[in-house]
Amino acid sequence: MDIVAGLLLWIHVILIVVWLGCDFVVFSLSWSLMNRELAIDVRLDRARLAQKFDMWVTKAFLITPFVGLALVYLKWRHLAAMVMLPWMVWKLILFAVILVMAILLIAGAAGTTGVLQAIKEGEGDEEELEQTLRKRVINLAYPAIALHILLAVIIVIALVGNHGTLLGEGF
């Protein structure tokens, strides 16, 4: 494996670490939004902070598959290899489920800050808004947890399937 492929592999790993790490932060911040003992300004700040971290999650998530495609091309000189090797197809299938989870999360999370802003400004029934927020956070927790588990499985598949080309070999 040449230096470019080794470097790209490291970038791929770092992107996944950023993605997973920031996603855990977003998850715990989002979970704390349900805590009514916290001042509404604190909850609103946490929602905005979660949004900022989510921006990094999305960026890492968007770059990761293309770095993966570049790695496939550098290793096998043809992108079709990714649909030919069984372990790569397994990775692709699990990644497809992650894509669906990500779509659910992005589509479902839109407007969460708006709900907290409405609670702060006293717009509408506070109890109803709190219930909406609670329902949204809990409903989104399932795809978020599933996404983390699937990502961990993909990492294991990648490490096992790619055992001949360890990270250090490019350097």
Binding site: M55, P86, V100
Partner: protein
């Protein structure tokens, strides 16, 4: 937010790329057929997710 727009774009383009390579195979194994089905589902989810979010934002904008 440009990265959200990019997210939807990639959610639509990535399944298309994978489906392109899967459709180019002369013979598909059950695993590859499974991948084809799931990427078709991802493509449909991405299109409907984009429409859902776009509607959600449009409603929120008209209410405020």
């Amino acid at each position: 937010m440009w990265w959200i727009k990019l997210f939807w774009l990639e959610m639509i383009i990535f399944p298309v790329v994978i489906l392109y390579f899967l459709s180019g195979l002369p013979h598909q194994s059950p695993l590859q057929t499974g991948a084809t089905v799931i990427y078709l589902a991802v493509f449909l989810c991405a299109v409907s997710g984009y429409i859902y979010t776009w509607n959600k934002k449009r409603k929120a904008a008209s209410e405020s």
